[in-house]
């Protein structure tokens, strides 16, 4: 997540976006209808159901593109990769293990890849094709049905009681992350903590936060010590009648320790309009949190109308939509008061955006390059970029630029795909992680000249898939 207090990450994103633009600019200039306002990259004709991912495969800081095609009718599942600025080098990897997570890489002038599927690590070499690298089913109790987690250079391979940490394919050590188990008449459900990177590269937290025994929640942390990770659980006191819904860690009071903010829903006599509670657990300076919430108060949102959380020493900001018939966007800013507490009455920014796509609230893109990420909302007209301002009201209804949908009007599923979704993914976990494997949604990306391009994957009738970019 890129926000004002992560300038390094913001700078990296600008670099990456610039790199991406260069990729696309040099990819197929001749095919463009208008050399300035439209670009087209034609994918291989036989691709049936492309899922495209932008990723820096060769570590040159520029985004490359790779496409997985695993249409059901296709005999083989294929992986294509295309390096930045080298459109002629289009590589095809047929792969057998499927469905699988795939990790392509460009090493020493050639494309290689690894894949993970049900406890088996596969590796691809040009000469031999796909081969079993290691079958963890033989030696370890590998967890079925769940993928591995890539964090920075480490791979976390799910086992029965947590994760095996792999670095460059070598098993380093075990990371304990026991599941909670729910056995019903027909199903056994295992819920594991999924490690997620935090702004501090040497620290992981986990989603979800588990309810422990009555009146407590259990958090999971991992701290890097040298090359290995040390894990710990912490039990925090939690109201009996609440259940954690989403959370965010960050330094809320500016003391350098990571604080924890939890949005919790009422767990009994639940109404759709019951308001979520905010609980604040301050960091104890030793990598954990104080056992008691320092504050608990009601927010103005309910469980089906919720959105991203931002926090820094200026306070806590909750972004969400309200309203049933008309979508009313709200940014509630909770600030510190003179007594040293977060004031439970927020300063509210509120405006109506009729027919808004309520699932789309992006806070990780800096369009006007002022070093502060802007707010992106979407409705039928297009994407509205609201420029961030100082003060308790971070955004103003009138301080915006609207990027109209092109070429046709009507809603598109827009995603700034490069960075994380809301707060649930982080700067470190975004790029290069299998989390970003998804069909390329229409995406807005900036270029070095400050222009914004809309990229979408589209197909005309029976023709090949095209990746088209339109300058806004």
């Amino acid at each position: 997540m890129i926000s004002a207090n992560h300038p390094a990450a913001a700078a990296r994103m600008v670099t990456l976006l610039t790199g991406l633009f260069l990729v696309l600019l040099t990819a197929q200039p001749a095919a463009a209808v208008d050399a300035v306002s439209e670009r087209t990259i034609t994918l291989q004709a036989e691709i049936l159901d492309p899922h495209a991912t932008w990723q820096d495969l060769d570590g040159d800081g520029q985004l490359d593109l790779w496409v997985v095609d695993h249409h059901r009718r296709a005999e083989k599942n294929r992986l294509w990769a295309m390096l930045a600025g080298q459109p002629d080098r289009l590589h095809e990897l047929r792969f057998e293990p499927f469905p699988a997570q795939i990790f392509p890489r460009w090493i020493d002038g050639r494309l290689t890849a690894a894949a993970y599927h049900h406890g088996v690590l596969w590796s691809y070499q040009r000469e031999n094709g796909w081969q079993v690298g290691h079958d963890f089913n033989q030696t370890d109790m590998v967890r079925p049905g769940i993928g591995l987690v890539a964090l920075g250079g480490d791979w976390l391979l799910p086992t029965g009681n947590g994760y095996l940490v792999l670095n460059n394919g070598c098993v380093r050590h075990e990371l304990e992350a026991p599941p909670t188990v729910d056995i019903s008449q027909k199903t056994m459900t295992l819920t594991y903590p999924v490690p997620q990177a935090t702004a501090d590269a040497d620290r992981l937290t986990a989603r979800p936060i588990a309810l422990a025994q009555s009146g407590e929640i259990r958090t999971w942390n991992a701290v890097k010590a040298g090359t290995s990770w040390r894990t710990d659980h912490q039990h925090l006191l939690f109201p009996n009648d609440l259940k954690p819904m989403r959370h965010k860690v960050g330094d809320l009071n500016g003391d350098g320790a990571v604080d924890l903010v939890i949005l919790a829903m009422p767990s009994k006599k639940m109404s759709l309009f019951g308001e979520l509670s905010i609980l604040i657990y301050l960091g104890d300076g030793e990598g954990g949190w104080e056992r008691n919430a320092s504050q608990q108060f009601k927010s103005k949102q309910n469980f089906w109308q919720t959105g991203p959380i931002e926090m820094d020493r200026d306070g806590l900001r909750l972004y969400y939509y309200k309203g049933i018939l008309r979508s009313i966007f709200r940014a509630d800013t909770y600030r510190w008061n003179e007594a040293g507490y977060i004031e439970p009455k927020p300063v509210v920014t509120r405006f109506t955006l009729p027919d808004a796509d309520r699932s789309f609230i992006k806070l990780d893109y800096d369009l006007n390059k002022d070093g502060r990420p802007d707010l992106l909302l979407q409705d039928e007209e297009g994407v509205h970029v609201f420029f961030r301002q100082s003060g308790a009201k971070p955004f103003n209804k009138d301080q915006r630029r609207t990027l109209a949908n092109q070429p046709s009007r009507g809603r598109v599923d827009v995603g700034v795909t490069i960075e994380a979704e809301f707060e649930e993914r982080s700067a470190a976990g975004g790029l290069g992680s299998p989390l970003s494997i998804t069909r390329l949604k229409p995406a807005y990306m900036g270029d070095s000249a400050g222009d914004l391009w809309l990229w979408r994957l589209q197909r005309s009738e029976q023709g090949p898939w095209l990746l088209k970019g339109y300058r806004q």
Partner: protein, 488 residues
Amino acid sequence: MHRAFLRSSLVVCLALAGGLHADPLRLEGLPLQIEWLDLNGDQRLDLVALMIRTQVEGTFDTSYEAGGIRGFYQEETSKEKFLATYLNTDNGFQAGEKIELGKETVLGIAVEARAQPRLVLWRQKILQLYHWENASWQKDTEQATPGFLAEQLIAGSSFDFWHPTPRGSFWIVPDLNGLHLLNADNNFHHDFLEYPGVSRRSRLQGGNQHHVKIALPRFADINGDDVPELLFESEQGAAAFPIDDTATVWTYVGDGKFADFNNDGLIDKLEVIEETDVDGLKDLKKVQSRVQIKPGTDHLQFGDEPIADQWTPGWVISQDDEGIILPEPFIDLNHDGRLDMAGIAMRLNFWQLAKVATLGRIRIKFLLHLSTQQEDGSFRELSGSPFEFSWRINIRKLRLPDFAQVTGDLDGNGWTDLMVPKKDHIAVTPIHNGAIDLARTWKVKLPKNMHEPDQIFARDLDNDQRDDIVVLKLGRNHTILNTWEHQP
């Protein structure tokens, strides 16, 4: 004199008004599990209950499973649990032995009818066996829990882990990659059965997924040899294993629900081929399903010629749903061994939908379509069907009533009757000679402290071929239980 007369008149009035029943039983705590078993050989079912002491209201929920009650706590809990035993006597239920179990997780209990009735208590790390002798539970052997489950935090359990079979009583312990099978009557002989492909429910959906769901089997006799097999069912098909020969596996790939419809011992396959279109709320009550039943010819093999292929009224539930707990669509209404069909339709309007959204719980009206199976295998709808049925739905735990829970032969005429819980009474509508007799509906009045009951079901507690109504009302650290043998 006057007072005695008044009292006796009052008793007669009460008896007439509410049927003859003993005083409600007030149990300490809330039920994690309620089971019935004849402990002292008097042909009456006694009550064995795993209880939990908790003051917290609202986070506790119960459901009906396999003739008993299972309780659910929303989290694993360190609250105190105990085992309560109540003997069914001429004077109602009398408290018997209580075994304190401390705060440790208890995965469940099982009871088994034997010459010396058996109690099985699974305390996560160990399984403890008891037998009933001299009016109390005597400790027998104990056995350590195999596999990873013994070390995990358990949120809730209603899995039937104990299965008495002619080959011995088996303890089933789910693990990550398969099941541990331990035969308690053969020195806990241990066998491991890998989950078949059909039990993998979860699919990889990106790295965000943190849930793993594994379908667990049920015990069903699929070949009529009176020894149950382990049957796994999923959207992809079914797989069955003999309980004492896990090297053998029978599989079927394809849709279906599996049960012995024609009572020939072999398990048959029910498939809902199509349903009528629903274009709006008003169509909900008119929905019909085309059902096809293919007869079992061998282990999970089915003949091509269906024994039934017809449209039946209502929505015949043939698939599991992630969000809502659905009942099996079949029930034996007349105890002839052939399975009859239950389809449901809904009467919903926008107002009701708005209500469930805002209040979290509502009473929803269903139309229950009941069809009996004829000699030739076809289904004929009962006269008087559909039957309007109401059920309280809770948004936290969406669950439709199990048909076995809301039916019971209360008048002892061989046909099962229908029970509908209302605020202050239970309405019983009899079925006889293939007809739902709405006009003869009678009411079982509930005492004030049992209004809006949490659970009702029917069970023949005194072996007189007539089911008794069992009603539970949960309170703050107590449970009120009452039984009625009630006739119109």
